[in-house]
Every structure is written in structure tokens, then in C-alpha cells.
Amino acid sequence: MTARLRAPGLTRAGLFLVLGTLFCAAIIVAVREAYGYPVFADGGIVPKAQNAILLLSLLIAPLWFLVGLGAFDYWFYWAAGKRTRPEDHSGHGATSWKDYFRVNTDHKVIGIQYVVTSFFFMLIGGLLAMLVRAELAAPGSQFVDANAFNGLFSVHASLMIFLFIIPVFAGLANYVLPLMIGAPDMAFPRLNALSFWMLPIAGVMMTASFFAPGGSFSTGWTAYAPLSTSAPIGQMFFTIGVQFAGASSIATALNFLVTIITMRAPGMSFWRMPLLVWANFSTSLLVVIATPFIAASQFFVLFDYALGFNFFRPERDGDILMYQHVFWFYSHPAVYIMMLPGFGIISEVLAVKARKPIFGYRMMAFSLLAIVLLGFTVWAHHMFVSGMQDWIRIPMMVTTAIIAVPTGIKIFSWLATLWKGVLHMDTPMLWALGFITMFTLGGISGVVLAMVPMDIYVSDTYFIVAHIHYVLYGGSLFTIYAGVYYWFPKMTGRMFDERLGKIHFWMTFVSFNATFGPMHLVGVKGMPRRVADYAEEFAAWNLFISLSSFVLGLSTLVFIYNMVASWRGGRRASANPWRALTLEWQVTSPPPVFNFDRIPTVVGGPYEYGVPGHVHGIMEPAEEARPKQAAGASSAEEGV
């Protein structure tokens, strides 16, 4: 037992978590005693001191947990002045399920850790959505009070955004991106492991807020100040949880950027990179630049809340609107952080399943970069009714309309890719096509919302809820499903059940539209969002929406069953079941522990489907590949 407590791992992490909490309690008790504040009363700790201990533990104890887990072992070793050693990859690979519960530096293991963890929190978030819809099935109060209802939708949104959509994309890319560019791993494997392990911390924290005194955080995922700075302690589970999720996503983004820039295989020039790599390159730029803003905004809230600072106290010259500006300066780009990786997935799936080169490859890449740039110029379109200076609205309306252009370029390029293609209508393709239709609808309602008069009219109604779900569910989640089905054979070495996949798609597609489509109507009629009760006139539609949403919830279970059952006992997958050209399909399924025996050489573009004799990569080093490629040799040199 003592050996297990001393070795890095979950046991030691648990022990350290307890020690860390005790450490925080000791600090608070000592400080309060030193300054003469009351600590003990009636044989217990006074509530104020309890809250202080809880707050400090939220901040500090997770770090103890990570130390116990062994995430920092190497850095301690370095700090002690010992000789540096490059990551020796002895922790690579997974031979049993236990290897997924330790600090593992293998990008493929981390990718699966990410995907499974984020789907776990997606199920919790989905369950909360079911509770929200159950409450809204009829007017009046069913089984939760107004405050608990606020908590349900707040935690739902926070989990779905910070613990599902953002990290699941990071997970998929973690698995396939190094393979796609011909790298043996990510640039910083130990940082990669650390990034992952901050994620469950954030997720558990947000979920656990329901057990906090005073209930969970209930200010929406936007946590506007000063509502959030005067809420019960549950709010801090969001404020601090976001810090961990944000640090995790910044570290991953940094890792992706360095990997893409410095570790591409010979011949893999920027203009030969698969669009998924381009998409994650753009997303990572957004994360590195924008995510610090939400971290700062939550620090402001934390300081106002815990230390009585005056960032958001107007009576002391603080500025409330500043919160919204800082928050949306991250959170608008965040919608692209939640969408661009999906664009990349769709480009992969469509080219392979239509057996055609992607239409306008360079325009696809340029439009991603244009979205990155323009994404920073539109944030105040979320604030048209906030009371900010009127003149800001017009430029924000114009830039928001302009950002539809690069997005439109992508949609039309995909359509042109499909044109006269040999369409393979299997599950990944169905999700890709479903994405194009649903995301276009969400994009159109987005342009509608960009127009100031329309936005003022439907602000804080179900029209907004409809729009966000068409973009994030019909958009992001559909691409996630497309990606998970597409790479499932590669990641697990098994084929999924195609019939269940199709059932999953059609069930989701129909119930998704039945759930969120009518929300446009009730929204335009004026039903406010984020309210537990509503007027009698909306009763019929809401019952319909709730029933549809339950079907939508069930359709997710079909997916989970398919994934679990196929992983355990599915048909063995060949190396390249989709006959794709990109490098990840040129190795076995699942790939060898170190991805490649020898670093491959890239000699052509990634999407030349239907072009006779075309090769994207050769599974041999450049020196050996060259003589055989008498004609193609010059092109191999181009990108070196």
C-alpha cells in the first residue's frame, strides 16, 4: 500500500488531494487567527471561514492532485538541477485500460483520453438538458424552483462548451494530427499529458458545484458581473473551473502550433497539409490569442468576489460593461474555436467520401485564416442591448456580416466538391452532409441576428437558443460525430456497426430539427430564454419540443452503445477502410506505438482522389524515396 502511495498515479493523487485541502484549511485558519477574525464557533468552523477554505482549495488542491498524479515529476527533476533527459517514450502506448488512468505521454493515448472524457461530460451535460426540457414541458413549476433551473442550464452550457466541444476537437486532433503530418508524437509530450489532466479537474469542479452550499452556479455560461460577483460560492466552481479548462486549451494549442510548424515530414509543405491540420493551426492561433481574455475576466470576478476588489463596482468607479467586452473578446472567437476544427473534419470526410479533390484547397485554407482575423473584430454583436455606446453597433454589425463571406466560401467549396462526385453515403458522410445543411441554417439565422434591429427584437428569446443549437449541435456536434465515425476504425482497430450508425444519424437529424426548429417560432413570438416558466400560449410547442428532445437524448444512447459494442467486439478494421490518401491511413489500425517505423516522405497534395496514379505520401525516408521517384523528385523537394 505504501508503495502505491509513493508511486505516481491516481492513488497518490487522491492522497495529495486530501493533503492539499488540509493545507488550504491550515492556511485559512492560520491567517484568520493571525488577523483576529473568528474561526471556530459552536464546535465547528464559522461559515465565512468554511467558504474561504473551499475557495482556496478549489484553486490550490487541484495542483496538489496533479503533483500526486506525477504530471510535474519531470519538471521537479529539472528544477533540482539534474541532467535534462529528452522524453524517453517509456510511458508510450496502452496495454490495458489502466494505462488510460495515468500520466501517459503518447499522443494517441491522450487523444482517446480526451475524447472519452469529453463524451463523459457530454452525457452529464445532456442529462442536465433533459432535466431542463422536463421542467419546460408544461407551464408553471414541475419539479425544480427557478434558481435550480438557472443552475441546470448554466452547468449544461458550461460543460458542453468547456468540457465537450472544445476538448473533444483537441482530442481528435491529438490523435490524428501528428499521424497526418508524419510526426512520431506531439512536440511536447509531457505538456500534452498535463493539458489533458487539467480537463477532468475542470469538469468535476463544474459538476460538483451542485453540492456547493447555496447551489450550483446559475448565471449562465456567460457569468455576467456583477451577478456573478455577488452569487453564492457555487459560482466560484465555474470561475475557477474555467481557469483549468482554459489553461488546458492554451497548452494544447501551443503544442499543436509547435508540432505543425516544426515536425512536418519531409515534403509536407504548408500547401500540402490536410485541411484538418490547417483547421487546427487556425484554431490554435485563436486559442493562444483569445483564451487569456476569459482567464482574465474570471480573475476579475474572483478578485471582486473573494477579495473585495472594485473591477465591477460602479459606485467605486468600476465598470460593469468591461466584463462583457473582455468576456466576448474571448467568447466570440470561441465560437470559431468550436467550429474551425469541425470544418477541417468535414473537408477530410467529404473529399474521401465523394472521391474527388477538395474544391478550392487554397481558398479553404485562406478562409480559415480570414475567419481567425475577422473573428477578433465582431465581439460586441453580443452586446447590442447591453447599453454600450450606440455607435459601436454599426461597425460590429458590418464586420459580423462580412465574416459570413469566408464561411460561405467554405460551404460553396464543399458543395463544389460534392458536384459530380461518387458519393459514398455511409455514416460519416451522412453526418457531413447533415452538418452542411444544419450549419447553413444556423449561419443564416446568425446573419439575421447580426442585424441590429432584428437582434434587439429577439434578444434573450428562444430564437437565440435555436440559433446557438443549430450552430453548436447541428454544426459542431455533427462534425464531431462525422469525425468520430470516420476515425473510429483507425483509433480502435475495429469497424463500427454501420446500421446503428445510420439509425443514430436519422434519429438525431429528425429529432434535432423537431427540438430546435420550433424554438425559432416561439422565440420570434417572444418566449424569453433562461426562465423556468412561460406563458400559456407557448405550452403546445414546448411540449412538442420537450418530447422531441427526449428522442434526441435517446439517439445519443444509440451512439454510445454502438461505440462501446463495436470497440469491444466489432469487425477488425483494415489499415485503410476508406481508401484515403492522408498519412494516418497508411499505417496499421490502430497505428504502431511510435506511429511510423521510418518518417514518411510527402510527394503530393492530400486530396487528389480520382487522379490516376496519385500519391500523397511514401512510407520511406526521403533519401530512399527519391531515386524511385525519378519524375516526381522535383516536387518532393519543393517543400523541404
Binding site: 524517453d88 510526426a183 501551443l254 482567464a295 476588489f309 465598470d319 506511429n595
Partner: protein, 206 residues
């Protein structure tokens, strides 16, 4: 141990590996340096958010600066600025020294850099004690402590990194061939210095 298990699974293949194949270097930029640069971009954005708060409180809100009755010790802070800026030069000296395999120079330069940084932090904390207002008093105090405190936190992180480099330089690490391990923390320290000049100008001078 785990590596041995991997070898087993590879036995059927022609080539045996004790590790992954060497990754191709597709850029002249060193990965650790690039990573630090990107991290600094993130850090600049954190400061950017705090400067946004400053902008909203002082410019948009039009709050008096410094708040009525308060006084910012420009001169002491200016003196402190000089201390921090000079630490960038001593750091540069240490870097130049190790490029010529001058170990004494490296040790001396790093030690002086660390001490200058620690002095800066000490004077900054001393200023907090004597400045006469608190972050709880008004938004001006909040953002004053916010910006200088955020910077102080970065100085602290930088000092921890420098301390490790000092320890390593006395333990005989680094040479003219291999000094990346001190260059990368050095980039961070230069960033901390430059950031202070911006903070000093906006908070104390303008």
C-alpha cells in the same frame, strides 16, 4: 519496462526500435523557443485584458487618476524600473559568456540577474506597504494593484525560472554547444522586463 513490452509487439517487423523514429525538423526555429514565444503571446494577451480594464476605468469611465488624495511614487518606481532593466543587460552578459564557454561569467551574470530581480520584487512589495491605498478602496486602486500585481506575479515566475538556471549553472550544466536551457527562460525574463516598462508608463507616468 513498458518499452520492453513495445518491443515485443514489434517483433514481426523488420526494424526494431528502442524509441520512435527521429522527427523531421521542418523549421529552423527551435521547438522550445517557438513554444516560449507562443506562450509569451498568450501572456501579452493576459496583460491586454488587464489594460482593457484599466482603459475602461480610466478612459471610458473617466475616473480621476490617481484617485483623489492618492499619490503614486513615480521616482521610486522609476528607480525600480532602472533596476529591472539593468537585469536584462546582466542576463545578456551571462548569455554571451556561455557562448564563449566562460563559466565564471555565466554564473556571475545569472546570479546578479537573479538578485536584481529579487530587489525589484522587494521594492515593489515595500511600495505596496507604503502607497497608502488598497485595491478595496476604489477601482483605481484595484487596477493599480491588478496591473502591478499581475506583473509582480510574472516577476516571481521569472525569478523561479532564473533560480533553476542559477542552480544548473553552478552544477556545471550549459556550454557553448548547449545553452538552450538558459536561453528560453531568458526570453521570458526579457519579456517580463519589457512588460514592466509598458506598465510603468501607463500606470505611473501618463
Amino acid at each position: 519496462m513498458a518499452a520492453a513490452a513495445h518491443l515485443g509487439s514489434h517483433e514481426h517487423e523488420d526494424h526494431h526500435h528502442h524509441g520512435p523514429p527521429e522527427a523531421n525538423r521542418s523549421s529552423r526555429v527551435d521547438p522550445a523557443t517557438l513554444g516560449m514565444m507562443l506562450f509569451i503571446i498568450s501572456e501579452i494577451m493576459v496583460f491586454g485584458a488587464f489594460f482593457t480594464a484599466y482603459f475602461f476605468i480610466r478612459v471610458v469611465g473617466g475616473a480621476e487618476w490617481p484617485a483623489e488624495g492618492d499619490h503614486l511614487p513615480k521616482l521610486i518606481a522609476g528607480f525600480n524600473t532602472a533596476i529591472l532593466v539593468s537585469s536584462s543587460f546582466t542576463l545578456h552578459y551571462a548569455q554571451e559568456a556561455i557562448r564563449k564557454d566562460n563559466r565564471r561569467g555565466l554564473q556571475l551574470g545569472m546570479l546578479v540577474t537573479f538578485l536584481l530581480g529579487a530587489t525589484f520584487l522587494f521594492i515593489q512589495i515595500n511600495e505596496y506597504v507604503h502607497v497608502g491605498f488598497s485595491p478595496q478602496d476604489h477601482a483605481q486602486g484595484t487596477i493599480f494593484y491588478g496591473l502591478t500585481g499581475l506583473h509582480g506575479a510574472h516577476v516571481t515566475i521569472g525569478l523561479v525560472l532564473l533560480l533553476f538556471v542559477v542552480i544548473r549553472s553552478f552544477r556545471g550544466h550549459y556550454s557553448s554547444q548547449s545553452h538552450l536551457g538558459m536561453e528560453v527562460p531568458g526570453i521570458y525574463w526579457h519579456f517580463v522586463d519589457v512588460m514592466w516598462i509598458v506598465v510603468y508608463l501607463t500606470v505611473y507616468i501618463i
